[in-house]
């Protein structure tokens, strides 16, 4: 108990130090919790969206590209052993017209007698279907738009405009929640009529017998399906979204791993100082009868308590951060976040990491404190310069650096699985810290010499003090180095990615105007398609030189994977400029081959499926599997690069795709203004959206700028934490030099010179740590870039941003100087008489 009392009193007497330790733990733990919880929440929200639609269906039958197919297959499906019920639906996008504007809507045509076997509906007002007329809408959504039961709603579908009465409201449960309530449920016959697809459906949901084996049933159904139809679990649709989330997870996972490493180093530095300051008191305890084990145990318990308190606070902050991240990610993917997906996983992880980190960080100081004899502890501090840097630690550092470096090289060149790259990279970063003690003295001497014109004698004195406190100086340099290396490495990777996205967009979506229905639903990749006839109307406008139609199809199976297909009128593009960000293939030849029926494959799809330029890919079409030649490989950010490009006419034949999602209009430069006003009139007439190239670019820039702003925010936070570590180090240095400073002041030194000595320590430590960190950051960025194709399948150009390098260097040094200000002030204000008696 008395040792607990000692610990508590000591922590209370240094609230700032305890706060810094807790802050480091809170930041690290909150990062872990925020990333894990938000990822699982967003993933869950994304999957739930489809799960609500899928209901109790274990399998679904769809056509390639989501095309419609004959409903006559339904009774045959019900005959398959294991199938309890086969429920047909016809689902299609539409636009809902209201006085206040237009909304992306969905129409779901259901068989009222059979659909309840799959999905739940609860009527809260009105009546269910009595005949083929009328629509049911989710109650909250309807009331939000001022729709009452009995009102007529106007819907624009591919076939044209239609009005339909609202006969009832559904509770916000189950399928009614799809598209956040923006779905009109009509009878199957009504939907077939609206979309002009008599006796056609575009999905059959299959409910299985309880005892049925889904895999066996799936295989049995696949055998009886005609060409062009496929059977799969309903949630496979969410696969594409999961791919995108996965790459985001990887990036964030790397970031929070390094946050943990940084926090551990900061905590180690802080604990070493704590224990160092209490050296004398620990010696008194030892003299009075406290054993070594008791001292070590007391310090470890202190670490544990701080770890637990920091973890608890970190979890709270992390949950708040998770909510913010989830909302941002859900907005991007058009999902709804009702509540955080909280399971035990992130908390168990945080519960181990927080206290674990603190205990690991406290272990070394505790062990060292236990080794100090009572007499040593009561003597003035022996400076480390009398003992050389530990050869064992240096050799360990060199050995680990070589080992982890070789592992990284092996990963880059494919000799080892790429999954080893991230842990190797983190270990490589940390192993270099072990080498710092051996080079600290010579490097800081060199820096002091180089900066002598600026620092003068103060620099020499500062260098000696830094060298005398080897461990503390090492940890401070280590914090700067790890923080900057990680920040620059990640930052450069992100900036290169952002630039790649910008370049891709500039190469692929080139036009003066873009006409589309309302904003694409990013979650479902659905948008209301536009009729083909509109192309001719746009082309007829004076000043228009070409109109290119683009159609996006999901639910396409290529090389055994679910991908998206992009169908474009390549014949309407400038023959000298192919609008693809090709990575393999000559543009002129690729264009010819696309027109001839070949395909271009996205880099990620090519990587995953092992497809080479000039090879072949199997595409599931309405006529069955077809082997198509790969005319080129392209960089693509649609669906995370899992995409296949076809000439639109070819796609229409193979996949039954009709209509267009976007019309890209190109006009004479001299007639842009007139063309724009005419297109606008056409769009208003047809309730379409008009975007200029500048608009499109602006939207992308806003998104990318948000990412870059977030990056700067994270880097600044990391630098501030490093700044605290520097402030801590200098404060301790001042305390230990109290007598020495007093003596120097009495003998010769002015206050200004004292201040300059402390600031010089900051400059030397800063130049060492920041330079080391910047160099390591560049290496880290390059290595990350080399690993990217193996991880994502997407090669990205490596570009080093001089402004990022210089900016980071300058900002880091400024923060360090600011951090040094208070310790310098303290040194300047020492009472000389008291200081001379200081022990």
């Amino acid at each position: 108990m008395v040792l607990w009392k000692f610990t508590i009193r000591e922590v209370k007497s240094r609230p700032g130090r305890a706060a810094l330790t807790l802050l480091s733990i809170v930041i690290a733990v909150s990062a872990v919790v925020a990333v894990n919880v938000s990822s699982s929440t967003t993933r869950r929200a994304y999957e739930e969206m489809y799960a609500k639609l899928a209901g109790r269906a274990a399998l679904e039958v769809i056509a390639e590209g989501g095309a419609a197919y004959d409903e006559a297959i339904v009774p045959k499906l019900e005959q398959v052993p294991g199938v309890k019920t086969a429920v047909p639906i016809f689902r299609g996008p539409a636009k809902l017209f209201r006085k206040t504007g237009k909304l992306l809507f969905f129409v779901m045509g259901i068989d009222p007698l059979r659909d309840e076997a799959v999905r739940d509906y609860r009527l809260v007002e009105g009546e269910f279907f009595q005949d083929d007329e009328g629509a049911l809408i989710e109650a909250g959504f309807a009331r939000g738009l001022g729709i009452s039961v009995g009102d007529e709603i106007g819907l624009l579908v591919t076939r044209g405009y239609t009005k339909i009465p609202v006969i009832g409201f559904l509770a916000p449960e189950g399928a009614a929640q799809f598209n956040q309530g923006g779905t009109a449920f009509v009878t199957l016959r009504a939907a077939q009529r609206m979309f002009g697809k008599p006796r056609s459906i575009n999905a059959t949901s299959l409910v299985l017998e309880d005892s049925a084996d889904p895999a066996a049933v799936q295989a049995a159904i696949a055998r009886i399906l005609p060409p062009g139809l496929t059977v799969r679990p309903p949630l496979a649709r969410a696969q594409l979204g999961r791919e995108t989330l996965q790459s985001l997870d990887q990036g964030l996972g790397f970031a929070y791993t390094l946050t943990l490493v940084l926090a551990t180093i900061v905590i180690l530095n802080t604990f070493l100082m704590n224990v160092g300051e209490r050296r004398r008191q620990l010696a008194i305890l030892r003299a009075l009868g406290t054993t070594r084990r008791q001292v070590i145990g007391m310090l470890l318990r202190e670490g544990l308590v701080l770890g637990i308190v920091g973890t608890a606070a970190g979890i709270v902050v992390g949950l708040a951060g998770a909510y913010g991240l989830s909302v941002a990610m859900a907005r991007a993917y058009n999902a709804t976040v009702n509540a955080l997906e909280i399971n035990a996983g992130p908390f168990l992880l945080a519960g181990m990491l927080g206290p674990g980190m603190a205990m690991i960080a406290m272990f070394v100081p505790a062990y060292l404190a236990g080794k100090v004899t009572p007499l040593e502890g009561m003597r003035p501090l022996v400076t480390e310069v009398t003992r050389p840097a530990s050869a064992k630690v240096t050799l360990l550092g060199i050995g680990l650096t070589l080992l982890t470096g070789l592992t990284l090289v092996a990963c880059v060149f494919g000799y080892l699985p790429i999954e080893f790259a991230t842990p190797s990279g983190v270990a490589y970063t940390c192993s270099l810290v072990l080498i710092i003690p051996a080079v600290l003295a010579p490097v800081t001497r060199l820096i002091a010499k180089v900066l002598h014109p600026l620092l003068g004698t103060a620099g020499e004195l500062a260098q000696r003090q830094i060298a005398r406190r080897r461990t503390r100086s090492t940890l401070t340099v280590g914090v700067l180095y790890v923080g900057l290396s990680a920040g620059l490495g990640l930052g450069t990777a992100i900036l290169n990615n952002v630039e790649d996205v910008r370049n891709w967009q500039a190469k692929t979506f080139v036009g003066d105007f873009f006409v589309r229905a309302l904003q694409m639903n990013l979650a479902t990749n659905d948008s209301a398609p536009m009729p083909e006839a509109l192309k001719a109307d746009l082309a007829a406008i004076d000043g228009v030189t070409s109109v290119e139609a683009v159609r996006f199809l999901q639910d396409v199976t290529a090389a055994g994977m679910q991908v998206n297909a992009v169908l474009r009128d390549y014949e309407d593009q400038d023959p000298n400029r192919l609008l693809l960000d090709l990575k393999a293939g000559d543009p002129g030849q690729v264009r010819q081959r696309l027109l001839a029926g070949d395909v271009v494959v996205g880099t990620v799809l090519a990587h995953r499926a092992g497809i080479k330029y000039g090879g072949e890919i199997t595409l599931r079409t309405l006529e069955g599997p077809k082997s198509l030649r790969v005319a080129g490989i392209t960089n693509d950010y649609v669906s995370g690069g899992l995409v296949i490009h076809l000439e639109r006419a070819v796609g229409k034949k193979l996949l039954g795709a009709e209509g267009a999602d976007i019309f890209i209009v190109r006009a004479n430069a001299s007639a842009l203004h007139q063309v724009e006003s005419k297109i606008k009139a056409l769009c208003d007439q047809n309730s379409l959206l008009l975007l200029s190239f500048a608009d499109l670019r602006r939207r992308l820039d806003t998104l990318m700028n948000g990412v870059v702003a977030g990056l700067w925010g994270i880097m600044t936070l990391g630098l501030i934490v490093a700044g605290f570590a520097v402030a801590n180090t200098l404060t301790m240095n001042v305390l230990e030099q109290t007598r020495e400073i007093a003596m120097l002041r009495v003998v010769a030194m002015t206050r200004r010179q004292v201040r300059n000595t402390i600031l010089s320590q900051a400059v030397i430590l800063g130049v060492f740590g920041v330079t080391f960190g910047v160099i390591a950051g560049v290496v880290s960025a390059y290595t990350t870039n080399l690993c990217t194709p193996a991880v994502t399948g997407r090669p990205i150009d490596f570009v080093l941003s001089p402004s990022l390098l210089v900016g980071t260097y300058v900002v880091a040094l400024v923060i360090i100087l600011v951090a040094a200000w208070l310790p310098a002030r303290r040194a300047v204000r020492l009472n000389l008489l008291i200081a001379l008696q200081y022990e």
Binding site: V2, F6, G289
Partner: protein, 243 residues
């Protein structure tokens, strides 16, 4: 009977060219109830001898028998436990824990031994009363004068009822009045409580209060004389005992 005894005690620091022989073979016996003062010039080995007697340092060779137990053969934990229960230390710079009150500082070794809080507080109070400072028991060291702090340190050493009190320059940081008070206290402990005390000092006036004076020079005992007390011992109670 001897409470502590050394046989051919040697202590050397460093190796080869830089080797320093602090003690070169000390044979010393201290009896129960004896007040021994050790003096000598700087570097004579007096503090080293005291630290070895207290089990804080180990000898290079020789034996240190505390109540029959050879400290030189014990490991660190065993010596620590003996310090906790049988040896009381008084330092020149007091060495109180700044965040603890006087009472808590005195109770510290008792708490470390696992004694109940109630019992340790009672004994702490007794010890503080013995040294005449119980009325300041709730003050932290920074609120006490030098003399008061040293008395708290003495109370801490007494609280464990040690076999021997080891005092390293106990008056070194005190003015003459406080120094005299502390010396008188030590004398009284020997006379009234039959406490055995070994004290290192450079002050002849303080050393004169001891029963026996041992002079060291260059690591050897130069002189070991029993002192005849020619001045009247100060028996007047200089400080109040708080009941």
């Amino acid at each position: 009977m001897n409470v502590i005894e050394t046989r051919r005690l040697e202590k050397a620091y460093g190796n080869d060219e830089t080797r320093v022989h602090a003690l070169r073979g000390i044979d010393l016996k201290v009896q129960y109830g004896e007040f021994l003062a050790i003096m000598g010039p700087s570097g004579s080995g007096k503090s080293t001898l005291l630290h070895i007697l207290g089990g804080v340092e180990t000898p290079t060779s020789g034996h240190v028998l505390l109540e029959g137990t050879d400290l030189a053969t014990l490991d660190d934990d065993e010596r620590t436990l003996i310090r906790r229960t049988r040896i009381g230390f008084i330092f020149q710079s007091f060495n109180l824990l700044p965040a603890f009150t006087a009472e808590e500082n005195v109770a510290l070794p008792l708490d470390l031994s696992g004694m109940s809080a109630k019992e340790s507080r009672r004994r702490a109070l007794d010890a503080l009363s013995l040294v005449g400072i119980a009325h300041r028991r709730n003050h932290v060291p920074s609120a006490l004068s030098g003399g008061e702090q040293q008395r708290v340190a003495i109370a801490r050493a007494l609280a464990i009822r040690p076999a021997i009190l080891l005092a390293d320059e106990p008056t070194g940081n005190l003015d003459s009045v406080n120094g005299q008070q502390v010396t008188s206290l030590l004398r009284r402990l020997v006379d009234e409580e039959k406490q055995t005390i070994v004290m290192v000092t450079h002050d002849a006036g303080v050393a004169a209060q001891a029963d026996r004076l041992v002079r060291l020079r260059d690591g050897l005992i130069e002189n070991d004389v029993r002192q005849v007390q020619t001045r009247p011992r100060v028996r007047t109670c200089l400080f109040k005992r708080v009941p």
